[in-house]
Subunit: 215 residues, 2 copies
Amino acid sequence: MRILITSGPTRQYLDPVRYLSNASSGRMGAALALAVLERGGMPVVVSGPVGIDYPEGAEVHRVETTVEMLEAARSLFGECDGVIGAAAPCDFQPETVAREKIAKHPDRTPYRLQLVETPDILAELAKTKRADQWIIAFALETEDSYRHAVEKIRKKGADLVVLNGPASIDAVTTDVSLIDSRGRIRAELHDTKEQVARAILRHIAAFDACRTNVD
Amino acid sequence: MRILITSGPTRQYLDPVRYLSNASSGRMGAALALAVLERGGMPVVVSGPVGIDYPEGAEVHRVETTVEMLEAARSLFGECDGVIGAAAPCDFQPETVAREKIAKHPDRTPYRLQLVETPDILAELAKTKRADQWIIAFALETEDSYRHAVEKIRKKGADLVVLNGPASIDAVTTDVSLIDSRGRIRAELHDTKEQVARAILRHIAAFDACRTNVD
């Protein structure tokens, strides 16, 4: 069992110094890597800039931007059984990146920044997904959470979505709902990220087994 | 000797999840705190979100945004001999902060973000500065570095500016020029942040001594 895990935030620069990002810590990715190791599998982590350490034994690839995360994930996915998208990649990036540090200047205020969408990593991986591979997405929502999570299942071709809220960012514990590809809530958990990671791995094992039975 | 040190980045949120920031690690602030302790002084650190630890014995105040950093610095400055502005506070912030996570939507792309300037922490402190207090600014420039650094001396009422470049962000070593209030380059250093911090403290001691002689 070789499982691709995207983890942590990405950064999208406005100029050589400033960037857009979020407070994703990589803790959920590290917990998932540990859970894969506990089951005797190999976690292949593609991580944005984080301060935490990934468990020893995990294969870790470091990236900074969303496009770098996509490229690394794309090149590694083929050799994996599935992917868990635990990262919080920036989904917007400045349309242009200033070559020099943007200077403060009263005449230029407000400074107008045009943001365009970055590629959707899991949706891109879904395009190359084989029938024996699976995709697990994370959805972090602040309103209409269930509806947005179900939309993500479709957009990302996901087999399971882990729905959580902003309180889980950079936190030790998390509140999640596991929603299957038909939109059914399979579990609701409030626990440490380590325990939630183990529960996600149990679900993967279960639908892996179902699939084998069906095939 | 009680020295106020601002350190690390700040964050300015676009919505409950995404923010503007930079990769400032707080290492220069930690090195300065250590250098103050070595001289028997008390470092009073106001720090944005960082992954590093400040030396034991330092007084540390944690903040997230530029306005929070300004408020903390303002309330602490009166009791200090001077301030070293080693932080890299965001100097732009979104004009409005979305209450809910901004959803990706093809019709809304490009997403236009209006950025306005945040308050200038050292310039604000300069307004309340007593004659026996001093201000040391850091300037991180990518072009016309010397000119921008000298402009900062004026804008921030600084007694000394530490000019460096983007290569010093989140790095162990740094290349700096120390420029005095008359625009004279007093030292050029390429060294670890600990050694650069000690050199800055020696300059503070020197101009503190000069001032005492003049008075």
